[in-house]
Symmetry: C2
């Protein structure tokens, strides 16, 4: 079976996000009001071949923690659906 | 009203994604099989104060196309929900 997986990688809450801070300042400098708490993350999509949704999820979560994120600083959020 | 907005920024289909290609090769080099079509994107979350969901969506889509993405190369996908 083929699955479409998306992995969101976010800095953990409490970890400083200078990129998000800069974007937040730029948004205000451009004159938009009422925008706050800007956080930047990465998102990775991939197609995964696996026997079941469970085995696809296991594979993707292993890839997410070994390759796509730094578990000390970042959280990985996995979404999987049939492709 | 407060809204939680997430903007996904993806390279348009057909635009080369060297970062995704590199991750794809690394995944295979680590011994995972059956993973393909790796694409890398950015995701930005923010809190938006607005009168209605429509005005929040309008504001975020303007920010997304002027500041968060390059509309020539990238597509921005907006998700908004009440915070």
């Amino acid at each position: 079976m083929r699955f479409q997986a998306k992995v969101q990688v976010w800095l953990r809450p409490g970890i400083a996000d200078p990129e998000g801070h800069t974007v937040s300042e730029a948004i205000n400098a451009l004159g938009y009001s009422g925008v706050s708490t800007v956080r930047m993350g990465k998102i990775i999509s991939m197609i995964v071949e696996a026997e079941s949704k469970e085995s696809a999820t296991a594979k993707v979560s292993e890839i997410a923690s070994t390759l796509l994120s730094n578990p000390v600083l970042e959280d990985a959020l996995i979404q999987i659906e049939e492709a």
